[in-house]
């Protein structure tokens, strides 16, 4: 069975890259363009793993992660933070919000797939 990945990112560029990369790697991909949309599609997407950006309008990655972690049904889903943030502080905040792991941009398909493999069975 294909693993389902929910990606949350406000950049069309990155969304498309994620889509191509994940589809090529045999994942089923569902996409949302910000944290609010991400929480809205959560139920429908029923993801095995979530990849999210941090800087987004409406609801940022921190808020989104907290939202997922508060969701009875989906709180156990691994969440990878995809961001250009490289300083420890941002990573720390993401972890405190409940992120499982992170992938530091620039976007690299190998890194992404590796990280997903690490946090999923």
């Amino acid at each position: 069975m294909k693993k389902k990945v929910l990606t949350v990112d406000d950049s069309r560029t990155i969304r498309n890259m994620l889509l191509v990369t994940l589809n090529n790697a045999g994942f089923e991909t569902i996409q949302a363009e910000d944290g609010v949309a991400g929480l809205e599609v959560l139920e429908e997407a029923n993801p095995d793993v979530i990849v999210t950006d941090i800087n987004m309008p409406r609801l940022d990655g921190f808020g989104f992660i907290e939202g997922v972690r508060r969701n009875e049904k989906y709180r156990a889903v691994p969440i990878l933070v995809l961001t250009t943030e490289s300083d420890a502080e941002k990573k720390n905040r993401a972890r405190q919000a409940g992120a499982t792991g992170w992938i530091v941009k620039p976007f690299d398909p190998t890194k992404l797939i590796d990280a997903i493999e690490r946090v999923t069975a």
């Binding site: 009875e72 049904k73 709180r75 156990a76 069975a121």
Partner: protein, 99 residues
């Protein structure tokens, strides 16, 4: 060792034994306390450490209560993960599932 009054109860484990299942699994086991128990782990696709903890804890409880605790069958992923995380359940497996 088996109970004189009650027939052995059985419990089938869910396919995914993750964080979300740990509490449910404990509640199910708590409800079965006091009976001999045979667990069917044949449907398990993946099992996390939290549910492994619950199962190990239950086995001890049953031991304290002097009730039988065994696995009637177990899937490959279940056995593999248990072995990976260093939890030995070989001796709890029903004879036919042991190799």
């Amino acid at each position: 060792m088996a109970s004189k009054k009650a027939a052995p109860k059985s419990l089938s484990l869910a396919p995914v034994l993750d964080l979300n299942e740990a509490t449910a699994l404990r509640d199910k086991l708590m409800a079965l306390k006091g009976s001999d128990l045979s667990i069917d782990a044949s449907a398990v696709e993946r099992v996390g450490a939290l549910c492994a903890q619950v199962l190990v804890s239950a086995a001890r409880n049953w031991e304290v209560d002097k009730r039988a605790f065994s696995f009637s069958s177990a899937s490959e992923p279940f056995l593999k993960t248990m072995q990976l995380i260093g939890v030995d359940i070989e001796h709890l497996l029903a004879k036919e599932t042991q190799r």
